[in-house]
Amino acid sequence: MVPTATERPGGAELVPAQPLLKIENLRTHLHLARGIVRAVDGVDLAVAQGETLGVVGESGSGKTMTSLSILRLLPKPMGRIAEGSITLDGTDLVRLSEEEMARSWRGRKISMISQDPLTSLNPVFSVGDQVGAPLRYHGLARSRRSLRETAVGLLRRVRIPSPEKRLDDYPHQFSGGMRQRVACAMAIACAPRLLIADEPTSNLDVTIQVQMMELFRELQAETGLGIILITHDLGVAAGICHRIAVMYAGRVVESGDVRDIYRRPAHPYTQALLAAIPHLGGGRRKRLQAIPGMPPSLIDPPTGCRFAPRCPHRMPRCADYPPSFQVGPTHKAACWLAEAGA
């Protein structure tokens, strides 16, 4: 297992203090006609080299907006990063110009993979064309032939059998799992430092998911890639992530080592999420909607704890937003209940 690096103010430093990616106090707003949606409202996250961070939450929790903020691909024209910093390899991405982002960051150092194998490849271009494309965008392809060779190499790296024969095939000629591998090959073509894998809300074939995760692990071992896995499913996250951050209504409510999150969930929301998974890695997973109630509107969010209206342990103090309490060496939770445990 690749060593994990976590940010732990006040705790013992187990690993290098400088993570690959560090997000501090990120606030991303969507300016809509009916008001400003505070989609991401003060989020801190960190990812170390070779680490996989799972960002878990239901739709509307701000997890996808967080990942789009990192890529600076917020929906135009309403999306805007209002505050905070996103530091990757010592550079604050928030301050970069759109041109710089496109030229030397997107696809080059950060890349993204949408996990829906059926739609993530362009149906009218051959696989060979698409796999090598990121190299072309970033001026890394010397010639048509070398591009072809690189494409073969990439396909081989994601374990596609006899890649040289398949370069001129089109996506529809590949199975779902193979397509997912091709998309993966595209994402790692320029040897990025960080990969964001955004899981679609639609149901995905479980076997493909498992294949994906294995592929991720291998890639990570080979390249030291940092991965952010965006998912609504704690069960999925358990299988692949080193650390997990649970998001609710634009904020991180709990973060920690994957074992801590599963064995000692400190936040009632995390507990509810876990309760919605009957058996880890087996059985039929229920959707997160199993928790009664609805997340609050992010246009005018309540000042107190945002989960309070749905929380079984609600108490008067929840009218104030709880700070993040340290509940274990690498484990934090934003809940008054955790104060006692800290």
Binding site: L121, V124, F125, P134, A187
Partner: protein, 306 residues
């Protein structure tokens, strides 16, 4: 694949045969073409002889079979007016019409594609509004009137372009615009909505996240997908050009099939009308067929499904 092609070709043949029956039956509705061919004072026995001679005393279905049999050998009869075989006349005029229809199609596509793509990319902006306004106007202005206005402005006022005739590019510009005018609106709409769909797709989002320049995303990755519905409709538009050419050719005195047929209608020159309209239909069906068969080139998914 062979089965697919065969089925489409058969489909096309049935349509053409059907069209020929329709045209034949309609042109017999007027009653007796003899009346037109002989002087009014012709004695009844002469009329009777001529009728027998031309096979007009036979039942309609046999007349059709004879007509179809002759048509298959390229014999549509002699033009009453020009005294030349109707087919020769039609084939002589056909290239000019195709030239015009192609030019009209090129004009409309060249206008509709950028308009549709830019409207989709800048959805809700002034470009989108202009595109929509243009499309609404396009559908409300008859092509032949656009042609007349073009003549008024560019030939009579400015004296830049020749008002009529057939020759170089300068003769082609105005008729092509007048002909291509009407379908621009529909084509823009098709391109725009297809682009909107495609731009939302995962592979475009992924391309953007992997650093693809916006120009490449829009014009290469998205457009190639969005072009599929437009290309599938091109045959229909080409056909609408052939239809529209009937009016536009008259305005610009374009020596094509359309004007010839219109003139033939006036002189009740049925062989020419039949041959001309049937040829237009054959062209029409052929285009649609070619479009069906060429889907695969632009959208590889269809190649296999067939």
């Amino acid at each position: 694949m062979v089965g697919f092609v065969g089925k489409r070709v058969l489909h096309g043949l049935v349509s053409i045969v059907g069209a020929s029956i329709l045209i034949f039956v309609i042109s017999r509705l007027s009653g007796d073409p003899i009346v037109l061919m002989l002087p009014v004072e012709a004695p009844p026995h002469v009329i009777e002889a001529m009728r027998r001679n031309l096979g007009l005393d036979l039942p309609l279905w046999r007349q059709y079979l004879i007509f179809a049999g002759h048509a298959l050998t390229g014999d549509f009869g002699m033009s009453y007016r020009w005294q030349t075989p109707a087919l020769d006349l039609v084939l002589d005029r056909l290239p000019a019409t195709i030239e015009l229809a192609v030019a009209g199609l090129v004009f409309s596509v060249c206008l509709a594609v950028p308009l549709g793509v830019l409207s989709a990319v800048h959805r809700g902006s002034w470009i989108d509004t202009v595109g929509k306004g243009f499309a609404m106007l396009g559908q409300a202005m008859p092509g032949f009137w656009v042609g007349l206005l073009l003549i008024l402005v560019f030939s009579i006022r400015l004296n830049w372009l020749p008002a009529f005739g057939h020759g170089g590019i300068s003769h082609l510009i105005m008729p092509a615009i007048a002909l291509g005018w009407y379908p621009v609106a529909a084509q823009t709409r098709i391109v725009r909505s297809a682009m909107l769909d495609v731009l939302e797709s995962d592979y475009i989002r992924m391309g953007r996240a992997l650093g693809a320049p916006e120009r490449v995303l829009v014009w290469k990755y998205a457009f190639r997908n969005a072009a599929v519905p437009l290309v599938t409709m091109l045959g229909v538009y080409f056909a609408s050009m052939l239809g529209g050419a009937f009016v536009i050719e008259v305005i610009f005195a374009w020596p094509g099939l359309g004007r010839t047929v219109v003139e033939a209608v006036f002189s009740r020159d049925f062989p020419v009308v039949q041959a001309g309209v049937l040829f237009t239909s054959i062209l029409f069906v052929t285009c649609n067929l070619l479009v069906d068969l060429s889907y695969g080139l632009i959208d590889p998914r269809i190649r296999r499904d067939g």
